[in-house]
């Protein structure tokens, strides 16, 4: 189980996350939603151990985030994070060196599926190819927790479909998945649990079926962030802020 207890992350003049408490059970596929600046990436970086909470605690199966949990967490950031001198083959070897759960055969298969060549240099990759590479690396690990930060951004429709298929195949075996995205309707059918963040605060979190209560996730998203009710009783009328 991934647990956040009263987590706050402050920078000089603002809180990127404010007193967020959350529990995500193992095996769930969770969608992390919110507009730009809502704290999604900050939350993922805290869980990945790339950043420290200003206060509060984050644990993975009871273990505080640290060196040991990094071996069990696979994080796909939004941007390229490789050394320019590397080839696609080199980065695979790097992952194999440091992550015991890295499956090199699966990496090769995913590269074939994504039509990436191992001898290509990182600096030669387009943004879409780089996104495919990041996805292949993350999915090649048998991590307890996989996090994908906006995996559908900046890629074409075919790649988006490939990405969703690859993520779906990666589910199961008690693996927890945390996906942040703006493209709610593309992932609506694949998630069990949803978290809504707004300006660093937790607006709503729970099983998708329960919190949607008959609505689509997209409609709920519009209601939370667009201040428009999609509840049939109040259809089209503005509602107060939910934060």
């Amino acid at each position: 189980m991934l647990e956040l207890k009263n987590v706050t992350k402050s920078y000089l003049r603002r809180n990127a996350l404010s007193d967020v408490s959350l529990e995500i059970e193992s095996g769930k596929t969770c969608l992390l939603l919110g507009p730009n600046g809502s704290g999604k990436t900050t939350m993922m970086k805290l869980i990945a151990g790339l950043s420290r909470p200003s206060s509060g605690e984050i644990t993975l199966d009871g273990q505080p985030i640290g060196t040991a949990t990094k071996a069990r967490v696979a994080y796909m950031p939004t941007e390229n994070y490789f050394y320019n001198y590397m080839t696609i083959r080199d980065i695979g070897k790097y992952y194999a060196d440091f992550f015991a759960d890295f499956d090199a055969a699966r990496y090769d298969r995913l590269l074939d599926d994504m039509e990436l060549e191992k001898q290509d240099r990182i600096r030669q990759l387009s943004s879409g190819m780089s996104a495919k590479l990041r996805l292949s690396l993350t999915l090649s690990r048998d991590a307890s927790l996989m996090m994908f930060d906006e995996p559908l951004n900046g890629v074409d429709i075919l790649t988006r479909t490939q990405t969703i298929d690859a993520i779906l195949k990666g589910r199961g075996q008690g693996r927890t998945m945390l996906i942040s995205t703006h493209l709610v309707d593309e992932l609506e059918d694949v998630v069990d649990y949803t978290v809504f963040l707004k300006k660093g605060k937790l607006v709503m979190a729970g099983d998708k079926q329960e919190i949607c209560a008959g609505r689509t996730l997209k409609d709920l998203y519009l209601e939370v962030y667009g201040h428009v009710s999609t509840d049939p009783e109040h259809s089209g009328k503005e509602v107060g802020e939910n934060a």
Partner: protein, 261 residues
């Protein structure tokens, strides 16, 4: 940590290869000068080897610190800091790689320059007094009765002293960059660089002041003999080593507890 050092080597291999090719080319030039009896060519090649050695050391220091700073500022830092390696291991892997590279560079460039200098001196028509002064330099300041073992020991001692000085500069730079990353988390570019520089100067001044107070102020250097100077250098090196250790621990602690990528 060893795996991280391997990848540090991969990052630096092009630069190291260029330095090695430069050294080999200049050595070929020196040997060609020797065969053709052209002391001018030998002198130029030896001078360039010395300059290349100095430039390589300065580059190692600056690039070592700048590369670390870059990893804290840019996304490429994720590659290292997402791995399940302790922050102390991350910092040590970088520092030890630079230390080993500096050691190998010192051995290669220093050894080449030393041997070339001996060859060159043999071809110049120096008077007896000048020749003795040069030979004393080649004996690292030891008198004419010094054995080969004593010369080698002195060379190793001086080499270690220089290496610790290099490492102290590097460790000070790492701590300055890490402190700057801690204090200026929202700032990038010029401001963070300026703060790093100020902290670096402050740490360097501070460690020098401590060394001055603990060691140099207690010894009359003007009237000191060779043994006292050697002991002073040894204690200064030990103190510098302690500073290296303290700064490295501090960098690792800050990385673990305070720095956000």
């Amino acid at each position: 940590m060893l795996k991280l050092m391997k990848y540090e080597f991969f990052k630096w291999r092009t630069t190291l290869l260029a330095l090695l090719v430069g050294l080999v080319a200049l050595e070929i030039g020196f040997i060609a000068g020797e065969k053709l009896n052209k002391t001018g060519l030998m002198s130029v090649c030896l001078g360039l080897i010395s300059m290349l050695a100095f430039a390589a050391f300065v580059y190692l220091l600056i690039a070592g610190i700048a590369g670390y700073s870059q990893e804290l500022r840019e996304k490429s830092g994720y590659l290292v800091f997402m791995t399940p390696v302790r922050t102390m291991g991350v910092v040590l892997s970088k520092l030890l790689f630079i230390a080993l590279t500096a050691l190998v560079a010192m051995a290669l460039f220093g050894g080449a320059a030393y041997l070339d200098f001996k060859h060159l001196i043999g071809r110049l028509n120096l008077d007896a007094r000048a020749l003795e002064q040069v030979n004393m330099l080649l004996r690292f300041g030891l008198n004419a009765n010094a054995t080969v073992q004593q010369i080698v020991q002195t060379a190793i001692f001086l080499g270690c002293t220089v290496l610790i000085e290099v490492m102290l500069t590097l460790c000070t730079g790492y701590l300055a960059v890490t402190l700057s990353a801690t204090l200026m988390q929202n700032k990038k570019g010029l401001w963070r660089g300026l703060v790093s520089l100020v902290i670096f100067v402050a740490l360097t001044w501070g460690s020098s002041w401590i060394t001055q107070k603990l060691l140099y102020d207690r010894v009359n250097i003007v009237n000191a003999n060779a043994d006292i100077l050697r002991d002073l250098l040894l204690w200064a090196s030990l103190l510098n080593f302690a500073f290296c250790a303290a700064f490295t621990f501090a960098s690792a602690w800050l990385l673990k507890h305070k720095v956000n990528l």
